[in-house]
Symmetry: C2
Subunit: 214 residues, 2 copies
């Protein structure tokens, strides 16, 4: 999110109300919304259902958020921010571990996985430019982050040098996303166990020294 060239407050947040009370109430609504989604998933995610769970009218929600789509994406953004600077994110060496940790956090809030997957799938449709923009930037940012870690690992010799960082980054993210959905459908799927297999790709083998690219 911070990878994009935008100031911290240059968000939709600034749009409603001037400043003193507007944003505070907005944050409050957002926080309540996160609770609701985390608990119930996007079961009955109509604006009216969300509004009722929060204790306001659906029109009040639209006073702070221009549309249902924007509200839901803001919930995802806010949830993401909650874990900013967690564990493995501070160790700029972790690659697979970064995704494993994120996945582990999400397992505690299946409703968020559901919301994320749903919005992601919907972001392809026409008229969902706000969603699409968010997910495009999110994937670009995540890939860039992983690419830089992979390249550092290749420089320091902890990661095989004959791997395309971009392709590997996309793979790790895709695996993490896909596994979370499979887990939702079948709890026997062990996300961490599967993700750890990716470390096999990363590890430099003895016959493939970290120098030499072909």
């Amino acid at each position: 999110m911070t990878a994009a060239p935008e100031q911290p407050g240059d968000d939709v947040a600034a749009r409603a109300g001037s400043y003193p009370k507007g944003v505070a109430r907005r944050q409050e609504i957002l926080a309540r919304a996160i609770e609701v989604f985390a608990a119930k998933g996007l079961e009955g995610t109509s604006l009216r259902a969300i509004a009722e769970a929060i204790g306001v009218s659906h029109a009040a929600l639209l006073h702070y958020f221009p549309s249902r789509e924007v509200l839901l994406i803001e919930v995802l953004k806010a949830n993401e921010t909650r874990f900013r600077g967690d564990d493995a994110d501070r160790d700029p060496t972790e690659i697979v571990g970064m995704m494993t940790n994120a996945a582990h956090r999400n397992v505690g809030i299946p409703g968020m996985i559901s919301l994320y997957s749903s919005m992601l799938a919907g972001s392809i449709e026409d008229g969902k430019e706000y969603s699409r923009e968010y997910f495009s930037q999110r994937f670009e940012r995540l890939r860039a982050k992983l690419v830089s870690r992979i390249e550092e690992g290749q420089s320091s010799g902890t990661v095989r040098a004959d791997l395309e960082p971009e392709a590997l980054a996309a793979l790790v993210i895709a695996a993490s996303d896909g596994l979370q959905v499979q887990w939702l459908l079948d709890a026997r799927v062990d996300i961490a166990r599967s993700l750890e297999l990716l470390d096999v790709i990363l590890a430099p083998s003895s016959e493939n020294p970290t120098t030499e690219n072909s």
Copy 2:
């Protein structure tokens, strides 16, 4: 699909109309629906939009399919069947190649990827038992298929023996699904290139002979 214990015709297909003309018209509607989705994605997937594109009323659609949900899942099933027995599926040795081929086919019909992702995300919600059942069985069937190929590879020495077949199967499927979505959002993502990295996991290294499991 055939992995589940069910006769060929024991489908929702048999439910509408007796037999002679009902199922024929049903198949016709299904075929037209596939074209519509393949071309336009699930842009305007309302029953009314689908009906208009096919040239009937939305009520007519509901005469052959009990609900929109069922219709859409049947479209996915029918699309899946179209490619039954393709290329790599006949080579019971291919593992990653099986998913690469499937992904390659889907890239030609982005609307189907979109439909698939959307229905998959929605299948978690309450009241979507039909979708959930389909995806649960689909994943179980795919994983089983891959597990058996992996185990054969491990027996014959073409696949590392120290890998959990179940975890690996889930990983390969997850990566394939996740990469297709990323590709929809950013065509620079190279699905095949990323999937091929998984072959690095599969390949037995010289220091890890295929015998010995721990």
